[in-house]
Symmetry: C2
DNA sequence: TCTGGCCTTGACGTCAGGGTCAAGGTCTAC
DNA sequence: GTAGACCTTGACCCTGACGTCAAGGCCAGA
């Protein structure tokens, strides 16, 4: 199969496949006229890459899985190197989730405080004599 | 104060300050010789930017806070536009955390299954006659 | 033969947030 | 008067994962 068909079947683009080849991740055989030629195994490699990409793996991190499949293993994660990547990724994910959660807390707190402060300001401004609401003087968008 | 001093006091670099100025985020006055000139208010603006950056805000997202401070408000988050950014960021964070958590689950499951499969493979390979461990034939790193 | 669709390589653009030089102007201290 | 520290602009470089041309080759159908 040629590059266009593989791209379509894998739900990606020809540009992406050429990019993967430039990284040595998914090399292609060539037909007589120079066209890239792929088979069903290549489709499986590509699907492995895309699944891991969906997990947020970087392309370089998918390499052990691809090599594993290419060396004849039934699954990309049958090899120790792949398991190692899984473990590293789990640790990364945990750290990332932890960091984001901490930030979420802080932003939430900031928002609550700022909302409270605004409510108090408005109350103070409305109470005396129906004074005009304290407005935020943002610079108007330039045309 | 000049750009070098402001950069040092804010714990950033002169390049960064010039970059912010190029975005219109932190414009500078100029002295007679063309040097940028900053005051304590600029330092506060800059600190506001850095705090939000630490929260993972993009520079464009810090703009409402900076404008708010510049328009004379005591805090960068006193203005509705800033609160809106807070809320949007909270939603983004929640979505991101949710997505990462889901992926974490799936990767964890994959790892567990793959480890189990490997253990079974090794057991099967060791049992018969102490056969050589099934090795993953990764291509050796090229020099 | 022509048209249209696929393919090729190569090169440049994108996004954020700057890093790093280069070439030169300015200011202060000695 | 000169060294050295500071400043200026402009320009190119980096990361990741491609998108988007440009210019041309190959092939099938009418």
């Amino acid at each position: 199969m040629r590059i266009g068909e593989l791209a379509e079947r894998a739900g990606t683009t020809t540009r992406t496949l050429r990019y993967y080849e430039s990284l040595g991740l998914l090399p292609a055989r060539r037909t007589g006229n120079g066209y890239r030629s792929y088979d069903e195994d290549d489709l499986r490699l590509l699907q492995q890459i895309r699944v891991l990409q969906d997990f947020g793996f970087e392309l370089e991190e998918t390499r052990p899985f691809v090599e594993c499949l290419r060396s004849g293993h039934p699954a990309g994660d049958s090899c120790p190197a792949s398991l190692e990547v899984y473990r590293r990724k789990l640790a990364e994910l945990d750290e990332c989730i932890g960091r984001l959660s901490a930030i979420r807390e802080r932003v939430g707190t900031q928002l609550a405080q700022a909302e409270l402060a605004r409510a108090q300001l408005e109350a103070a401004a409305t109470a005396p004599e129906g004074a005009p609401e304290p407005r935020c003087e943002l610079t108007p968008p330039r045309p």
